[in-house]
Symmetry: D2
């Protein structure tokens, strides 16, 4: 039987322990203070809890966030939630939108797109490396609630099959080489979002966007700072993410 969204559970335990488990697969789940069998886990209502050697564990249904951060198989750097959330907003991704993406990578952001455009929308995603394509396919099938993702196992530099897209997201090695193909695929005033790790790439892309008549609306980075949730000793965590990527947002002008 195909695994699905509703069979995933997040187990949360002491000291930041977090594990996503598929309860449709019989398995012994190891915990910091013992274990639980997946069939026993299946009987706990979402929001409920259980004890393993006197330590309480909470059981929640699995969100996109949990799935992406703790279950999905990766062979590449994924788009982090802090960045992904902002990209969805800046690209104006909403139910019914038609959106393109390259590369698919592990499919983490493809899932976010799929969840955001809903049953009336469509996500077209391109990945040229075959092993990545196959793993992403599994990751997406394994979670997607809506049947709205079309996958292509090719590079967009060879051309994008779709036209009049509302938005396109680029997370590939040399995005400046794909700007021209993306311009073809976007509708007028369509949104483009690009994610790159280095400042040198930002400079190259800005030059390419000027050359291909895109209006650059924002170059930005998002920093996330988490706090220890202790009311009487409130303070940020000792360590934080220092950098994931720079984001460039642009719109196609005529």
């Amino acid at each position: 039987m195909e695994q699905s969204f509703d069979t995933k559970r997040v187990i949360i335990g002491p000291e930041g322990f977090k594990k996503v488990v598929d309860i449709s697969v019989p398995k012994r789940v190891n915990l910091p203070t013992g274990y639980i069998e997946s069939d026993k886990l299946a009987k706990i209502s979402p929001g409920g809890s259980f004890f393993a050697n006197d330590v309480e564990y909470y059981v929640f249904p699995c969100d996109t966030f949990d799935y992406v951060m703790h279950f999905l198989k990766r062979h590449t750097q994924i788009v982090y939630p802090k960045d992904g959330a902002y990209i969805l907003m800046r690209l104006d991704i909403h139910p019914g939108k038609r959106v393109g993406e390259a590369g698919t990578g592990s499919g983490a952001f493809t899932l976010y797109l799929s969840m955001a455009v809903g049953p009336e929308g469509k996500v077209y995603t391109y990945e040229q490396r075959e092993e990545f394509y196959k793993m992403a396919e599994k990751n997406i099938k394994n979670f997607s609630k809506f049947e709205n993702v079309v996958m292509h196992n090719k590079s967009i530099v060879e051309g994008i099959e779709e036209k009049d897209l509302d938005a396109f997201f680029l997370d590939i090695r040399e995005p400046e080489e794909a700007i021209s193909a993306v311009r073809e695929a976007l509708k007028p005033a369509g949104h483009l979002g690009i994610l790159v790790p280095t400042t040198n790439q930002v400079s190259e892309i800005l030059t390419a966007l000027q050359a291909h008549r895109f209006y650059v609306s924002e170059v930005v980075e998002i920093m996330i700072r988490q706090y220890k949730p202790v009311p009487e000793r409130l303070r940020p965590d000792d360590r934080m993410i220092g950098h994931t990527a720079y984001m460039i947002f642009a719109r196609k002008i005529l």
Copy 2:
């Protein structure tokens, strides 16, 4: 005739000039280098441009982001996009979800919620101050694509009418007093997000969440850093937002 989403345009000009205009309302629109009449603006295709005294202006359709930042009438601090985007992700807001909110404020975040849950979803929003309620009503009608927002002109401390909500978002003066009512309205494992400006409030809320059996998943702040989009002299802006709010995310446990 009722104003609608499709009649709004963003005009983008030199040195960060940005204006949202309703082209269904006859009006002279002032620009840094001249003006344009709204009926002339209406004839420019989205993604197109025009000149005012030799300076080019771009014309785009109006996104939720543009509407919230540059058009919506405010009498309160709004939820900033950097925070709003992350809240949508952490509360797992997707097409079809049923979500509660208090207070409505200017309706900025209500619109984000409305756009995210789509035609199959529902947003229930509460605002006790009448003048805020009325202005939010206009702001929401003026933009909302989906007929999915239910507004209440009352405080949630008096009770929330809906049950089994997927998520609730609190942006009110004393959120710790509403935790109990929110718990009643949420389904098991439902998501709660709270926005507060001060560290003292974070401490108070953490204490209240423990008392009402919520699992705190994250206390966090999001910082956004924008760069000047000049390829050969790339650098962050001189000034940035130093603080908007702290966010607390929690889930109802049984």
Copy 3:
């Protein structure tokens, strides 16, 4: 009579009001709620206060920090205290050290260097633009406690007169062109600090440092976040400095 350190006072008033006044110059000092004559100000002990229309103002002696931020005449961007403090530490500037600097600019950082190396140390500073040189000379004389600054009105690209310096600090347009001259002036293992505003310059300097056999110990930026000092509503300021400069630290290797 020459103005000196001991004749400067900082007046601190409501809502962040801060003014540095030279009490040796007869003058009416305007305040948000009135004024005070400088001779009356001279009679107030450091740490004392006075009232202007029922509002209290505090009077402090003038620190290097106050002088640099609120009195010194500028025609250029100065080195900010958050950066200056870190540079002093990373260049290991201490009493007795011999340090070079280019360009002098408004002399703000020259003063910090002068204060740090003390009576046994020496600061050699170069500024090629004559009007800057003259203004810096006044700014430095006006405050310096120690007679330890030697000023040159020339570019270091033409050669640095001193040898065996402990450290050198570069804050000029094209620092990569001065690396070779600085290498000549530094003692083996000597410290080099460079301040530049753009990422492109950081890349160019890293390449130049490799070419001239410097060991790069750190590329860094310092962010400062100030809080409103209200105990029951503690929170960061709404706005903060987004960027001043990147700093590169290196050591001369043989």
Copy 4:
């Protein structure tokens, strides 16, 4: 023979390897790609290098920064350089100043103070826990260039022996209990700096400072962001320090 400043060397190797070695102590120094005997190391000029299995290592004299970060023995959290540098500037610590400190901790910041006030200045430091006091004493003797540190093995809450100090720095458990004693020891307009990890403590201290007639000049945190020094792929490090402490600066008013 007593160890001294001039006998310390920093060895810098591949992938961030950094080690401080005392060349006056005969010892085999282990390296990622082999080892070097300390007597052989002693013969390498500062700024020179050596090879261990074809990998080059650089040898530098040991700075205060290197000593504090890589040699000094700690049993407590030390004041980080990013914070320490800013504290020195805000407390206006310069050659000739008389400064107090509590607690001494591992002596890291005591050393910074000692290096900053120079031969004409004085540092008075208090530590009540005997084992900390003894370790700090060793750490300070082991490095200090100037004979300007006076150590006390007692709590300042019992009283501070010195009077008319230019500045005082507090890094103790409950600084709010020491404010009164510090006020006695400071000269009018004298500087006070306090370091605390939590927001709750900031609130408590602000209340105590108001009660003891201190003017609060700044509540602040310093964030440091390091970049990978690769010119063609410039980007910040993946991880950074998320939090060390909040700093509160105040001045004694009459």
